[in-house]
Symmetry: C2
């Protein structure tokens, strides 16, 4: 019986324009690496092989909290040594906590003969998100487990995740090196929205889902716009409007804030356009004198997986 497994746990983009709190997509890079070893001693022992100084107390670690939930769900007493190497910088807005939590439960599941379904793994990994943000949300966890594009139709009373097969798409992403505190990003959200604006938003969500499923790039481009959350958060993200405009000029279909930021993503038809869009995104922060990382890659068909 295998006692050690290593999992590649990718970054993800939540919201995807108009789909605040419900849509997500999976990237190929960056990614966390989660290595699990079964031990005779029940319980968790967590080590971080990176420099982020994250808590290793299982109750305060996102992978730990997800694994504790998994341990509660199995009848036998189990023990794991957990080694996490974070390739996804915490606070970048591309699902850093979701990747570690998803990677941990996918690794444990592999060691346990795959007794949990993807949906059950999402449910378990959400306990990690609760540690990170106080809320058991699945908009990053779902694509981190399932890959591709996902719609979280409901979290409660029953988790309902829908995979959305989309046409080939390339992501251009810029991560400007400033911090947006999740607390601030939440605080600027409107408590309520005018009905007319909500209607426009759900028209776009319906249009975007239809665009993905019918492989209609033009419709995807028209439907990505977020009328509600992005306008509220724009003030927290210097350069956002300019960066988006330049990436659109470079041929991108559309995009917006990745999660609660500061990363900004753009969807593109092909690699060449994505590279041009990434350059356009970077040029804005270059000019502002803000350090940044760029990422270009396709949507990942597969989520967290054993390597």
């Amino acid at each position: 019986m295998q006692t050690t497994v290593t999992v590649h746990a990718p970054a993800t983009i939540a919201n995807v324009g108009c789909g605040f709190d419900v849509l997500g997509l999976c990237l190929t890079e960056p990614y966390d690496t989660v290595r699990l070893t079964r031990t005779d001693r029940p319980g968790l022992h967590i080590r971080h092989l990176d420099d982020y100084d994250l808590p290793t107390d299982p109750n305060r670690n996102v992978a730990g909290a997800a694994l504790l939930a998994l341990l509660r769900a199995v009848p036998e007493p189990l023990g794991f040594e957990v080694e996490i190497t974070k390739g996804i910088r915490p606070g970048s807005g591309i699902g850093s906590s979701a990747a570690s939590a998803a990677g941990a439960v996918v690794a444990a599941n592999a060691l346990l003969g795959n007794r949990f379904s993807p949906k059950e793994l999402i449910d378990l990994a959400m306990y990690g998100e609760a540690v990170a943000s106080g809320v058991r949300h699945a908009d990053n966890i779902a694509p981190a487990i399932c890959g591709g594009f996902t719609l979280v139709r409901a979290v409660a009373p029953v988790l309902d995740v829908v995979a959305l097969p989309a046409p080939p798409l390339w992501v251009a992403l810029v991560h400007p090196q400033f911090e947006v505190r999740t607390k601030d990003a939440r605080a600027v959200l409107p408590v309520s929205v005018p009905l007319g604006l909500a209607v426009r938003q759900w028209a776009n969500v319906g249009g975007l889902v239809a665009g993905f499923l019918t492989h209609d790039y033009e419709l995807i481009s028209r439907a990505l716009d977020d009328y509600i959350v992005e306008p509220a958060r724009a003030a927290l993200l210097p350069g956002l409007t300019d960066a988006k405009r330049r990436a659109l000029e470079a041929g991108a279909l559309g995009g917006g804030i990745s999660g609660s930021g500061p990363s900004i993503f753009m969807l593109n038809k092909d690699e060449a356009t994505a590279r041009a869009a990434a350059e356009a995104l970077g040029s804005v922060y270059e000019k502002m004198g803000i350090a940044y990382h760029l990422h270009v890659g396709p949507i990942a068909a597969e989520g967290a997986r054993v390597i």
Copy 2:
């Protein structure tokens, strides 16, 4: 050159559960019949071959207003004699005004060698809706022209209508014989909605569109629920909750208020279930001593068409 044409102009269901103001579907029955004859005298002459006592002044008649918009869009002076036979009772909530407006422009287009695209016809027919309700909305017009399920992603600045190929579905519909004034149905709408509720609604819109396009009946069933408009309008519609519950027990996938009511629709996998659901809907109004009409039929693949 043909100078007379008769068009079958079907009833439609707007909103379709969660999709307030954006989703619509086309029925096979009931329908209006619109007969157009080209005349040498420019302008419109409208007659109603029914007992509804609707205005025949072109500016105040829904078909007339749509045709006047069409006349403004062609270079040559044109004249039409218009005979409308309404099979769809005004105020029933199944797109009575949309049918007459759609039928009129489809008829005129046939006499003009089909020079307008479906999208242009929707745009013209919306002038009829403006006469009926004060708003150029397309949620009934789009399915009345295109057939099937439609998503109106945007009306302005550019009309954007998306056809949503769905699996075979049967509609059970009850039209209880009381009036819901559109004004009242509008007045009870919330001015704004809590963000969390709006998120649940757009998750359902995305889920419903995905359910249609992937032919997933179970997902359609889970995603139909309207958290915002139906709760606000329920008080105007005695019997609604009970009728829906009974239809669900009879096997319906889900449903809700058709347009702004009073009709109630339920979607069903097959004809037998739709008949059982219709009977369940009717039984509630039977018991309440409210007269009603029932309708059972498939989704119409085609909208208004020359017969």
